[in-house]
């Protein structure tokens, strides 16, 4: 089974509810077959974005194109996009088979073809044994697969996924996340994947679009977003534990109008008072198994470092900090925009 992924273009898309802007001039281009994750905190407009693309709501301004065709005025049915909802939104009065068949049934596909396509999708997602059950008799993971199947069965031009993993428990989420990635590799369909979970976006997406207060902060590959964040907001949003965003003095650098952002893996912590580096004290030690997160206090600020699994020290223990001076990213304290590093004295 394969789906021809369509190109999706959003041009200056704006949506307001009364005087409240939900999206403010979002321009985004998704190539055919690409998986773009739209991330941001709740209320940033990412679900509104999906509703606009699906045709469930009309934009206040801006243009939506699918394969070059303007679809603003088209109904959801004419746009040929499928959507997986956060709550799955399975039809409770229908069996799994009927749920999967529903979009084809509505479209008037001949009965025999509906049967074969439902079987095909059921086989792909391992739903064959569940076809005659009702959604109420399914586990969370199974419901999620049915929701996915109901989208897949249509072979739509664009798939829209609205937080599809957020209702699964943590253990299941990793498995389904991996399945989704393999599925996308196999289908090469166009996916727009909305999530508030930056780890999901990092692992799944070809590119990530970071949305904040209805406007795009940055669009880039996961590596770009992580390594070259355009704003302090993006730097803080991705990465676990979060980036250390501090005044330069905390890192022993000359003061200025920009803050420095240093990833926890770029900060080295050595026990003991003696030696080179910046003096600090241990505040919290969190063993993660494969590594240990160490929070230290220095100059009234807290910094997190990812250390070896064997690191151990009581709170208050003196440590020395070191880092490569090339590593921090610099952000203007007023605008939050990325800046070139200040010239080091001498």
């Amino acid at each position: 089974m394969s789906v021809a992924g369509a190109r999706l273009e959003l041009d200056s898309l704006t949506k307001s509810y009364g005087a409240v802007p939900a999206l403010r001039g979002v321009s985004l281009s998704v190539a055919g077959g690409e998986l773009v994750a739209v991330v941001g905190p709740s209320g940033c407009g990412k679900s509104t974005l999906l509703s606009l693309v699906a045709g469930l709501e009309a934009p206040t301004a801006g243009v939506i194109r699918i394969d070059g065709r303007v679809v603003n005025e088209l109904s959801p049915r004419e746009r040929d996009v499928a959507m997986v909802f956060q709550s799955y939104a399975l039809y409770p009065h229908m069996t799994v088979r009927k749920n999967l068949a529903f979009p084809l049934d509505v479209a008037g596909v001949p009965r025999r073809e509906i049967g074969s396509r439902v079987e095909e999708v059921a086989a792909l997602l391992g739903l064959a044994p569940l076809l005659d059950r009702r959604p109420a008799a399914l586990s969370g993971g199974e419901r999620q697969r049915v929701a996915l199947g109901r989208a897949l069965v249509r072979r739509p031009k664009v798939f829209l996924l609205d937080e599809p993993l957020s209702n699964l428990d943590a253990a299941l989420r990793l498995g389904v996340r991996a399945e989704l990635k393999k599925l996308h590799e196999r289908l090469r369909a166009t996916f727009v994947y909305v999530t508030h979970d930056q780890a999901e976006a990092m692992t799944l997406a070809d590119r990530i679009a970071v949305l904040r207060d209805g406007a795009l902060e940055q669009v880039g590959t996961p590596r770009e977003i992580y390594g070259e964040p355009a704003t302090a907001f993006v730097a803080r949003f991705v990465g676990t534990p979060p980036v250390n965003l501090v005044a330069p003095e905390v890192l022993g650098l000359p003061p200025g109008s920009a803050d420095a952002a240093l990833r926890p893996e770029d900060l080295r912590v050595a026990l003991g008072e003696a030696g080179t580096g910046l003096g600090a004290r241990v505040w919290l030690v969190e063993p993660m198994g494969s590594e240990t997160w160490v929070t230290v206090e220095r100059a009234g600020a807290r910094l997190v470092a990812r250390c070896d699994a064997g690191f151990d020290a009581p709170p208050g223990a003196p440590v020395r900090l070191a880092f490569d001076p090339e590593r921090p990213c610099w952000f203007d304290r007023e605008t939050g925009r990325r800046r070139p590093p200040p010239r080091s004295p001498g």
């Binding site: 469930l56 959801p76 049915r77 996009v81 499928a82 959507m83 956060q86 409770p92 979009p103 249509r154």
Partner: protein, 267 residues
Amino acid sequence: MSPRAAWTVAVPYLAFFLLPLGWLALTSLWPDAELARALPSHLTLENHAAALAGGGLARAVVNSLLVSGATAALALALAAPAAFAIARLGVRGGRALLAAALAVSMFPPIATAAPLYVALRAARLLDTLPGLVLPYASFSLPLALWLLTGTFRALPAELYRAARVDGCTPLGAFRRVLLPVAAPGIATAGLLVFVFAWNELLYAVTFLTSPARRTVPVALALFGGEFRDPIVVLAAASTLATIPVVAVAVLFQRRVVSGLTAGAVKG
């Protein structure tokens, strides 16, 4: 609450509602000649046979079933799409419409009986069953509209959105997804409208003149005029007339209960 405590609450509560009915049923089984005694020496079905004699009561039950069924069907057919539009389509003035419906339902029926009489006469619907169904349906419409708006609001919004993305028109999503999912709430509204129509006396006695078109409340109200000392027979007639509506309620009970509780929890 322990089972014992539950029973101490439930028994008086049930007794309050069931004792009058039980007394009615017992009276209907009481031999006519023994009315003066504290308790009957035996029970009899003669009164029921007497109540059914002549076919007037059976006729009234059939009329009432027709009128109440048609009223419920008409009220639901009008209220369900309207409630869906108010709850899901963001219709302008939806709240005002609900408020207006509530206000209209506050009219005392007696105030409208005379104008309705004139209107029905003009429409040549006096003394016909459809002539009852129309005012009944319009009077029960506010109740149905309120109940069903609540029902549709309680359904997850994503269900409607999913149906739309899956290719349904708004009306298609209503018909194929929301209506079946809302079935418990619709059954509840339908049952309440049915019972309202079943019990209505004022319009029925005003608009119907032919004995053959009487509904159950009219037939029972006029029973006394036709029988000698009919207390036990009247009790038998009342008991018999209650059976169909109880049967309808029991038939819908499971759906109604789940409808009431679904609304209560998600409300």
